[in-house]
C-alpha cells in the first residue's frame, strides 16, 4: 500500500503545477468574488423623480445610518454607466417610497446591498404609516425613534455559547465555499487515477503483486484524501495568516470538518468513477456535475436563500452542504464539537454509502 501511495505522491511532486494552480484558483476566486463584501463599499444612489433633491437627501442619511457601506448621491447617468462598465456591482435608484437596484450581475454584493436597503425602506414605511394617523407628525416620529432605541422588550441575540453574536460575514463563507469547490476537483482528479492506471495496465500489475485489493484501494483513496486535505489546509492557512481573514478561534474543529468532508468527497468521486469506463469519460462527467452541487447546496448564498425542497434534498445528498453548515457554525457562531456532530455524521454516512457502491461499481466494470 505504501509504495502505491508514494508513487502517487512522486507523480505530483514531479509535476506540482496542477496543485499550485488549484491552490491559486481557490485564493484568486475568493478574492475576486468577495472583494465587495470584505471592505466598505461605496454604493451610488440617485433619484429621477421631480423632487429628486429631497428624496436623495432623505434616503442618503437613512441608508448610511448604522451601515458599513457608504451610500453616495451620484448623477444618474454616471451611476448607470459605472454599473454598465462593471466599475460598480450595483447602484440604487430611489423613488419616493420605493427603490430599484441597477445591476448587471448576481454577485453576493448585490444581495447584501439589497438586504440592507430593503430593511431601511421597510422600517421607514412602518414609521410613515404610523405618523400619517397623527396630527403631531414630528412629535410622533421622535417618540417612535426613541421607543425603537429604547424598546420596552429588549431582545438579545447571542451565539450558541451565549457570547455576543458576530455579524454574518459573507466573505468568509465564500472563502470556504471556493476552497471546498476547488478541493472537490483535485480530489476527483486524483481518484480518477484508479481508472487511468486500469486503462494503462498498472492496476493489473498491482493485482498480480503481493499488494492486496484492499491495500490498493486504500492507497489510492488515502492519497486523494491527503492531497485534497493538504490543498484546503494550505488555502485556509494562507487566508488566516497572510490575508488576515477571520476564521474563528477553532482551527482544530475546522480541520476535523475538512477531514470528514475530504473522506466524503473522495467517496462521491469513487462513486462517479464507478459509473464510467474510461478516465476521459470521468473528465467529461465530473467537471460538468461538480460546479452545480455547491450552487444547489446554496454555499455561495446567505443561509436560507434556497428553500425549494427538491433542491435542498439534492443538496443534502452531497457533503458540501453539511461541511458548509458545520464550518459556518464554528466560524461565525463559535459552535463546539457537540454542535457539529450531526453534519459530521451525515458526511460519514454519505462517505460510507458512496464508497461502498463506488468500489462495487469499479470492480464490476472490470470483471
Amino acid at each position: 500500500m505504501i509504495p502505491v501511495f508514494l508513487a502517487q505522491l512522486a507523480k505530483d511532486r514531479r509535476n506540482p503545477l496542477i496543485l499550485i494552480i488549484f491552490i491559486a484558483a481557490s485564493i484568486g476566486g475568493t478574492i475576486l468574488f468577495t472583494g465587495g463584501t470584505e471592505t466598505p463599499t461605496t454604493i451610488s444612489i440617485f433619484s429621477e423623480e421631480e423632487n429628486d433633491q429631497a428624496i436623495e437627501d432623505k434616503w442618503e442619511s437613512l441608508l448610511n445610518e448604522g451601515s458599513d457601506m457608504r451610500f453616495v448621491v451620484t448623477d444618474s447617468a454616471e451611476a448607470r454607466e459605472n454599473v454598465q462598465q462593471g466599475q460598480s456591482d450595483v447602484a440604487v435608484k430611489l423613488l419616493e417610497e420605493d427603490y430599484k437596484l441597477i445591476t448587471t450581475s448576481n454577485l453576493p454584493t448585490v444581495d447584501y446591498v439589497d438586504q440592507h436597503v430593503r430593511t431601511v425602506f421597510e422600517k421607514e414605511a412602518l414609521i410613515q404609516s404610523a405618523v400619517e394617523q397623527s396630527n403631531d407628525i414630528e412629535g410622533l416620529r421622535t417618540e417612535i425613534e426613541t421607543t425603537l432605541n429604547h424598546p420596552p422588550l429588549d431582545m438579545e441575540v447571542t451565539s450558541i455559547t451565549g457570547e455576543e453574536l458576530s455579524s454574518y460575514d459573507m466573505g468568509t463563507q465564500l472563502m470556504f465555499a471556493f476552497t471546498l469547490l476547488v478541493a472537490m476537483f483535485i480530489i476527483g482528479f486524483r481518484v480518477n487515477n484508479i481508472l487511468k492506471d486500469k486503462v494503462y495496465g498498472l492496476w493489473d500489475r498491482l493485482i498480480l503483486s503481493p499488494v492486496s485489493k484492499t491495500g490498493m484501494y486504500t492507497a489510492y483513496i488515502a492519497y486523494a484524501c491527503f492531497i485534497g486535505f493538504v490543498q484546503m489546509l494550505t488555502v485556509i492557512l494562507i487566508f488566516k495568516y497572510v490575508l488576515n481573514y477571520d476564521i474563528g478561534e477553532r482551527l482544530d474543529l475546522l480541520l476535523i470538518i475538512l477531514a470528514f468532508f475530504t473522506f466524503s468527497m473522495v467517496s462521491i468521486a469513487t462513486l462517479l468513477t464507478g459509473l464510467v469506463k474510461k478516465p476521459e469519460q470521468f473528465y467529461a462527467l465530473y467537471p460538468s456535475v461538480m460546479p452545480i452541487i455547491p450552487l444547489i447546496s446554496g454555499v455561495y448564498m446567505m443561509p436560507g436563500t434556497i428553500t425549494n425542497p427538491v433542491l435542498t434534498f439534492i443538496g443534502d445528498l452531497f457533503p458540501v452542504s453539511h461541511a458548509m453548515d458545520a464550518i459556518i457554525n464554528v466560524v461565525m457562531y463559535d459552535a463546539a464539537w457537540q454542535d457539529i456532530t450531526q453534519p459530521l455524521i451525515l458526511m460519514v454516512l454519505i462517505g460510507v454509502v458512496a464508497m461502498g457502491i463506488g468500489i462495487n461499481l469499479v470492480e464490476r466494470r472490470t470483471t
Binding site: I2, P3, V4, L6, A7, A10, K11, R14, N15, Y200, G201, L202, D204, R205, L206, I207, L208, S209, P210, V211, T367
Partner: protein
C-alpha cells in the same frame, strides 16, 4: 509446471476461449501464436489469475490456480501488451516502485534494479522520465518491471508490438538469455511467427479461441509434409496466370508478392510442367523458380486458409 484443462471463457454471448489445453514444463519456452482476436490475451489473463475462466482449470504443479491465485502470483512475472508504467516517473523510480510492491528485500533492491537495467540495456538512461523514451525503450522497461522479483515463469503478451526491428531483436535476445541462462519458463504470445520460431521450443497455434495445432516447430511443419511451397519470379505479373494456376487441382494457395508468386501445392504433382505450360500460353517468362521451406505462417495458412495478419 503449468497446465490448463479445458479452459473456456465466455463474455455474455461471445465465447472468447474454448476448450484450451496447454502445458508448460519447467525451463521451457512456449509460444502462443495466433492472429489478433484469437484469444491469446484472454488465455494468458486466465493463466496469470487476472481472469476467472467460465469453465476449466489452471494448475501450477498440480494445484488449482483458480482456487489459490496467490500461488502462481508469487512465481509469475507478467509483461502486459500495454506500457504499464508511470510515464511521469523515471525508469529507476518505476523499477523501484515495482521492486517495492513485489517486496524485494531493501538490501537487494538497489542491486537488482541496476542488474535489471543492465539486462535491458538502459542503465545509462535510468534517470530519464519514461515519457521521454522511445517505444522500444518503454517496452524494455515494461519487461524489466516484471523481472525484479526474479520470477520463475515469465508471461509476455505481444511485447514487441509497434517497435523498431533493432529494439525487437534486443528484446528477443534478452528473453532468450533469460530462458537459456536463468532457466526462466517463458510463455510468449505473438502474431509474428518469426518471433515464435526464433524463441520457442514448442508452439500452440490459436484461432477463434481454440488451439488448432500444437507441438515443436518440426512437428508443426510436418503438417505440411505433403505440400510444397515454391516461389516463382515472373518477368511480368498477370492476373490471368494467377487465376489459371489456382484452377490446377493440386494447388492449394497462390499469393502475389511483388513480381513473384508463392504457390502451395500437393507434393509429387506435376505442378512445374503445368506452370511452365500456362506461362508459355500467356507469353510470360519464368525468371526464377525456388522451392521454399515451409514456415509456421504456412502451417497457419494450411490450417485456417488465412494468413496470421488477415
Amino acid at each position: 509446471m503449468i497446465e490448463t484443462i479445458q479452459l473456456s471463457k465466455r463474455f455474455k454471448e461471445k465465447t472468447v476461449v474454448e476448450g484450451v489445453d496447454l502445458y508448460l514444463d519447467k525451463g521451457e519456452s512456449v509460444g502462443l501464436l495466433g492472429p489478433n482476436g484469437a484469444g491469446k490475451s484472454t488465455t494468458i489473463s486466465i493463466i496469470s489469475s487476472l481472469l476467472k475462466p467460465t469453465t476449466g482449470d489452471v494448475k501450477l504443479d498440480g494445484e488449482s490456480v483458480i482456487k489459490n491465485p496467490g500461488d502462481i502470483r508469487k512465481v509469475l512475472g507478467v509483461v502486459p501488451q500495454e506500457i504499464a508504467l508511470y510515464q511521469e516517473l523515471t525508469a529507476y523510480e518505476n523499477l523501484k516502485f515495482f521492486g517495492r510492491i513485489y517486496r524485494v528485500p531493501k538490501s537487494q533492491l538497489e542491486s537488482r534494479i541496476q542488474t535489471t537495467l543492465e539486462l535491458v540495456g538502459l542503465k545509462d538512461r535510468q534517470k530519464d522520465l519514461i515519457k521521454t523514451f522511445s517505444g522500444g525503450m518503454k517496452r524494455r522497461i515494461n519487461i524489466a518491471s516484471a523481472l525484479l522479483h526474479h520470477p520463475k515463469i515469465l508471461i509476455l503478451d505481444e511485447p514487441t508490438v509497434g517497435i523498431d526491428p533493432q529494439s525487437r531483436n534486443y528484446i528477443l535476445e534478452m528473453i532468450r538469455k533469460l530462458n537459456e541462462q536463468e532457466g526462466t519458463t517463458v510463455l510468449y504470445t505473438s502474431h509474428y511467427m518469426e518471433e515464435v520460431e526464433q524463441l520457442c521450443d514448442r508452439v500452440y497455434i490459436m484461432d477463434h479461441g481454440k488451439v488448432i495445432a500444437s507441438g515443436s516447430q518440426s512437428e508443426l511443419l510436418s503438417i505440411l509434409s505433403n505440400e510444397d511451397t515454391m516461389k516463382v519470379q515472373l518477368n511480368q505479373m498477370s492476373n490471368e496466370l494467377v487465376k489459371a494456376i489456382l484452377e490446377i487441382d493440386v494447388v492449394r494457395h497462390v499469393e502475389e508478392t511483388g513480381d513473384s508468386i508463392k504457390i502451395i501445392a500437393k507434393k509429387s504433382s506435376n505442378i512445374i510442367s503445368n506452370l511452365v505450360k500456362l506461362a508459355d500460353q500467356q507469353n510470360i517468362k519464368i525468371m526464377n523458380f525456388q522451392m521454399e521451406n515451409p514456415s509456421l505462417e504456412d502451417v497457419f495458412l494450411h490450417l485456417t486458409g488465412r494468413t496470421l495478419r488477415d
